[in-house]
Subunit: 224 residues, 2 copies
């Protein structure tokens, strides 16, 4: 089995703290598969714009979607290069100096140009986007109408060029010792008690999609 | 007392789902004060670049910092316009169709040009950045050395132009009713058990900064 390595380009070469750069594609996939929201940036008239969006990974591409009325996504659909970031904050690192204090994180930034998906490709992508946030929900709810489909812009970005950085572990100090507590405060996204919508009977059981997602979020990921 | 409203510009005017646009500066401040990480975008050679960074709000400006070796921050220091996003995901909204399914979120995107801070301004900004993530930690650890200070690039971005969007509440459906469960699964960032660093005695008590941060993150924010 060959190791699947991410290529290093001018944009993805890490120039400082190089030991945080990760080239293993499996880490890119894990970061994308366990995140909920991505930030998408592009340049309009030479200036940056930036929005948070839902996304999903589908094999070797990233799926994004939004309203056809969203200006940034329309520009991306028109071929403007984009950068997409997914970031997990895994912990705060308390060192004995602020300079060595840090965060534990896993971040991926993907660069490229997206393609618009239509027809059966769009439908399949929406199913994948649905499964990413709410696994199995697609079959629990009514299917999209033709009008809803045409109101939705779906984009696919190849995962060809990505910068992946990971920091784990405790503070890395140069032997300073002032007797203060040092260590890591782990952080993770957790779910609260589900809130029933107005008009839904309390007798309706929680759906499998919600239970699956809750289980996924409560599964320990990796040591921080 | 006058209401402090954010100005609406071409960039901050929301064109779709306008009811999610918030112009109250207090909401901008709350989003910034309770977040941990920001995403900063800028254009280099006409293409977008994007990184996650630590930040803090200091009155009517946003403070950012990083290594003087970080290319994106150096470009921002050189006067390149930037966009900075802070996003909270507060819950997943399960509707009876995928089209109406959504996320509850609070997001702020700030546009502008940052200024480099030096000397006493830089020191004060680093103190504020420290207090944002680890309240009071500055006085628990050793002070920065001259060498550490010159290795740190600190930027201030005025909070003049910001797009703030908020979605709260349950699914907003057009009366569809297929009998499926519908509602909100709340999400929030939570802390785990602190992990002691190698070489620190287990007798050292947890610092006030960690306890304060943990209390802040466990304080209920707003209904989702």
């Amino acid at each position: 089995m060959t190791t699947d390595l991410l290529p290093v380009t001018d944009r993805t070469q890490v120039h400082r703290l190089r030991d945080r750069q990760v080239r293993d594609r499996a880490m890119l996939n894990e970061i994308l598969d366990t995140g909920l929201v991505a930030h998408v940036a592009l340049c309009l008239g030479g200036e940056p714009v930036l929005i948070p969006v839902a996304y999903a990974r589908d094999g070797d591409r990233l799926l994004l979607h939004g309203s056809t009325g969203a200006g940034l996504l329309r520009a991306a659909a028109g071929g403007a290069p984009i950068a997409v970031a997914v970031t997990h904050i895994d912990g705060l690192v308390f060192a004995q100096s602020m300079f060595h204090s840090s965060m534990n994180y896993r971040s991926a930034v993907i660069f490229g140009t997206a393609q618009v998906l239509d027809g059966a490709d769009r439908l399949a992508a929406l199913h994948a986007l649905s499964d990413h946030l709410m696994p199995g929900r697609w079959d629990e709810v009514r299917q999209p109408t033709a009008r809803e489909l045409t109101a939705t812009l779906v984009l696919a970005l190849p995962l060809d060029e990505a910068s992946v950085k990971v920091r784990t572990g405790g503070p890395s100090e140069d032997g300073e010792e002032i007797g203060a507590w040092a260590g890591v405060l782990p952080l993770r996204l957790q779910t609260g008690e589900p809130i029933l919508a107005v008009g839904i009977s309390a007798d309706v059981e929680l759906p499998d999609s919600l239970l699956t997602l809750r289980r996924r979020l409560s599964t320990k990921r990796q040591p921080t």
